[in-house]
């Protein structure tokens, strides 16, 4: 059985199970570069938060899947991912780590640990559960 690397809130149930190489997007410039590279559909996009508003162009141009490290399914990004039917796992945490996101009380190390573990890794999103979204190793 494939290894579950991370889990989080599943924004909506879907049988879509996109796979791709995780790409950590830190700034608007990262999103622009990715769109201009023409390789948007090859990546599962990892961003820091549900309020990461700069991701919207990527969603509208065909992003296949999104992982966030904070935020709730009711957030703007959650609403957009349902509209675009882009599978999305929010407030993902590493299954082999004790670190968890807590609103207003999360240090940089939490985000860095997740980005380091997932960025560049080939994964598949499993969003079939009505509560838990899973990031599964696909390499």
């Amino acid at each position: 059985m494939a290894e579950v690397l991370a889990e989080g809130y599943n924004v909506f149930d879907t049988s879509k199970s996109p796979s791709g190489t995780v790409k950590y997007l830190f700034s608007p410039a990262d999103v622009i570069s990715l769109i201009q590279s023409g390789k948007l559909a090859e990546h599962i996009l990892l961003v820091r938060g549900g309020t990461t508003t700069f991701l919207a162009p990527a969603l509208s141009m065909g992003a296949i899947g999104v992982i966030t490290m904070s935020g709730a399914p009711e957030s703007h990004l959650g609403i957009l991912s349902r509209e675009f039917q882009t599978p999305c796992v929010m407030t993902a945490y590493l299954t082999d780590s004790e670190s968890r996101y807590v609103v207003g009380d999360t240090d940089e190390a939490h985000f860095e640990e997740i980005a380091k573990a997932l960025d560049g890794r080939r994964v598949r999103l499993d969003c079939t559960d009505h509560e838990v979204g899973r990031v599964v190793a696909d390499d």
């Binding site: 909506f12 608007p28 622009i32 508003t53 509208s60 009711e74 509209e83």
Partner: protein, 206 residues
């Protein structure tokens, strides 16, 4: 590097691009009311200054765009930030915003025995209740729009856009509730929220 201080026109155009994340000149005109030929010239100048990138006919903000807007807003809206009446209304907006996000989720998903399933919009009464709720939430923003427009008339465009979109929804165009690609209730609300935070010099919270 010190962030650029923008002219009023540059701010108004760049602000729309940043709010929309990707915008054609026509889209900027539709939201800002600025003449389309002026918008094109301003976008070209903003591109020269490295504040937008034009790709596929749309302008996208660069990493420097938000800091340029923030630096300019600090001066432009200094009086607004000191206005206690605005501050009180903004506090109330936070509650209204949370209610709005809940309403939007209930438009997209229905609670079926504790499980959220996609709203297939087959129950007109349910949808009508959500739309009625959206009307009420938008109406609650009226005093805030008025107070902000007293400092900068561009804020008066928000109630105009909400009036237009709610009228279209009432006429049957329900796609305008949450469409991510049209001037929907969700998009207008989201843009207003982000615009408000920048105006006040505040950050979003998760």
């Amino acid at each position: 590097m010190t962030a650029l201080s923008l002219s009023r026109m540059d701010y108004d155009v760049l602000n729309v691009v940043v709010l929309k994340k990707m915008a054609t000149a026509d889209a900027v005109t539709a939201v800002s009311g600025v003449d389309p030929t002026v918008v094109s010239d301003v976008l070209a100048a903003l591109a020269d200054h490295g504040l937008v990138v034009v790709a596929g006919g749309s302008a996208l903000p660069t990493d420097g765009a938000e800091s340029a807007l923030a630096a300019t807003a600090a001066d432009r809206y200094a009086a607004l930030r000191d206005d206690d009446a605005v501050a009180g209304l903004v506090d109330r907006f936070e509650t209204t915003n949370a209610q709005f996000l809940t309403a939007m989720s209930s438009w997209q998903q229905v609670d079926m025995g504790g499980r959220k399933v996609a709203n297939d919009h087959s129950a007109p009464d349910y949808d009508a209740k959500v739309i009625d709720r959206l009307h009420k939430l938008v109406t609650r923003l009226g005093p805030l729009f008025e107070a902000l427009a007293g400092h900068d008339p561009r804020f008066a465009r928000y109630p105009e856009r909400f009036d237009a979109v709610l009228a279209a929804i009432d006429a049957g165009d329900h796609d305008l509730v949450s469409s991510p690609t049209r001037d929907s209730v969700h998009n207008i609300w989201f843009e207003f929220h982000e615009d408000l935070l920048r105006t006040l010099g505040r950050e979003r919270t998760e």
